[in-house]
């Protein structure tokens, strides 16, 4: 085996090992189905996220911090115009008073309104269900921000510096959760999932987020969705979201 091939194999094994440790329930088989850069992404896989709100602590925002760190989303002191790819909300039922905590992010819909309304096609859905924005063809009209039922998109309101090479961002364009597509393509779990399933330090460790392939009936996420009730946000819109919630 050549040196580069060996390096690639070591990287894959290391990634797989860390993933097994970081995200229980995510199986190596699912990663085997993930596509490398050389192969086209196909609809055989549909990446999804199951959020157990019973495990999500009200005072924990580790997923938000992990997302901000991963994508270089820094605050400017103007929260109304700062990027918000994932946010924590606390819900209080108006009748029973039951309090629930959960993260809200792009729901990676099968029928995404943001993709429908985008005039240039910059908003698009990958075959594997990840909804993204092509930063080269986004003209910054913000129609997708208007159309998103989840307030999950942000418009970059000012000049940026030191962007992460794997997470292109630019003033005047719209952005949102990419489901850490750069990590998925490297066979790693999204940053929020990783931190939610890790323990120690600033990590969350609550294990509220389960990531995997919705199309694989043997995957942990598919099995859990089959065995326990879950719901979509704004299910009335029939968007078939890739993000689902338990105990909501």
């Amino acid at each position: 085996m050549t040196a580069p091939a060996n390096r690639k194999r070591r990287k894959l094994l290391a990634a797989a090992a860390s993933t097994v440790a970081a995200a229980p329930g995510l199986r190596l088989m699912e990663w085997a189905a993930a596509q490398s850069d050389a192969q086209p992404v196909t609809a055989a896989t549909r990446w999804g996220l199951l959020i157990d709100t019973d495990k999500c602590a009200v005072d924990c925002d580790a997923c938000v911090r992990a997302c901000n760190d991963e994508h270089g989303l820094t605050g400017t002191g103007r929260p109304e115009t700062d990027a918000q790819w994932i946010r924590k909300v606390t819900l209080t039922d108006e009748h029973s008073g039951r309090v629930t905590s959960l993260p809200v992010l792009c729901q990676h819909c099968e029928q995404p309104p943001c993709v429908d309304v985008c005039p240039t096609g910059a908003s698009f859905r990958r075959e594997d269900g990840v909804v993204l924005v092509d930063k080269h063809t986004c003209i910054g009209c913000r129609y997708c921000v208007i159309a998103c039922p989840y307030q999950a998109r942000s418009f970059v309101h000012e000049n940026l510096t030191a962007q992460k090479p794997y997470s292109p961002r630019g003033k005047g364009t719209v952005e949102g959760c990419t489901l850490c597509v750069h990590r998925i393509d490297e066979e790693r779990a999204p940053a929020c999932v990783e931190v939610c399933n890790s323990g120690g330090g600033d990590d969350c460790g609550n294990g509220a987020l389960l990531f995997g392939d919705l199309n694989d009936p043997q995957s942990a996420i598919a099995r859990r969705l089959k065995s326990a009730p879950s719901r979509q946000l704004r299910a009335d819109l029939d968007l078939n979201t890739g993000v689902r919630y338990e105990n909501l």
């Binding site: 400017t76 103007r78 929260p79 109304e80 115009t81 700062d82 990027a83 918000q84 946010r87 924590k88 909300v89 606390t90 819900l91 209080t92 039922d93 108006e94 009748h95 629930t100 809200v104 309104p113 993709v115 429908d116 309304v117 985008c118 005039p119 240039t120 096609g121 910059a122 063809t137 986004c138 003209i139 910054g140 009209c141 913000r142 129609y143 921000v145 208007i146 159309a147 998103c148 039922p149 989840y150 307030q151 998109r153 942000s154 418009f155 970059v156 309101h157 000012e158 000049n159 003033k171 005047g172 364009t173 719209v174 946000l233 704004r234 819109l237």
Partner: protein, 395 residues
Amino acid sequence: MPAHFHQLKITAPEYRAALAVLLALAALGYAAAHYMDAGGHHITGMNNRVVWGIPHVFALALILAASGALNVASLSSVFGLDEYQPLAGLSALLAIVLLVGGLLVLVLDLGRPDRLIVALTHYNFKSVFAWNILLYTGFIALAVGYLYVLVEPGARRAGRVRAAGMLSLLWRLVLTSGSGAIFGFVVARPMYHAAVMAPLFIALSLALGGAAFQLVAAALARWHGDYLDESVLARQARLLAWFVAAVLLLTAIFHLTHGYAAERRAVERFILMRGGVYTALFWAQAGLGGALPLALLLAPAPGVRRLCAAAALVVLGGFAHLYVIIIGGQAFPLPIFPGKTVTGGFYDGEVAAYAPSLPEFLLGLGGVAAALLLLLAALRVLPFMPPPRRARQRG
């Protein structure tokens, strides 16, 4: 060239003053756009919850007015009202410049206005916005074609003027439906998602455009020589009254339908009762921009002054109405968790704050100025001014 069209004659000093003011406002608007582009939109009042602000209100008002400004051309060429024939060219020219002004504002407010070429070369045909790009360009092409046949010898006899007028009429009905659909098709927002948006925008365009034409025609008559016959004025008043009444009726249907549905009562309470500036503007447009001009227009023998006062109220009312729809619809929180009180996150559950900043206001105003500047320039070189009554009587 048909005898009923003239070029604009410059005689009055007010005309030069108007040119200077419009030029200054257009330059300020462009400077504001450049300032927003260089610094980013954080210098505006817009934010991640109210992403469309006052520039979009100006742009939509101009686009709707453009479509409605063609009323007079339609009356002349489609409905065969000969007294409107001398005004048809001015009507089509005004329609073109208003649309250009609106598009200027829309484009200069983009996050990446330098990528306009992308918008013209990459089409997502499922996007209402993309449909509108085609509708706008088609409208300008049709209006230019209409102007051409107006002055083409023999075109009227051959039926080309009527054909061009009919095509423009049908096109602008689709165009304003398309503008309404920008909002009406948004399933996420309870304030927007309504089929009545299309006819409401048609009615708004007829009223706004009719009023804008009346104001422009009256101003030009002061400089150029009076060309507005009493019969034309009386008919203008009656028509405008119909359009204002249609806006009021469709607005009432819109809010009654929403108020009937439990899921939309919260947004209705917000707009009609507890929405602060949005509630104030809603009732102001219904009263001062709707009922009052209706009364002024329906009173017997409306002179040019009363007609212009009513038209000005209709324009201001239409602007306020669009402000309530566009910005009020975004300010109201998205209903992601019905039955729950939401806290934390990104101002979830709270009414979004928005106050227009000076640059974005100047950008919008610059669009209006650019439109009128274009009109005055075009009327100097193109023969689309109606002749003064004296000249017509002599002729």
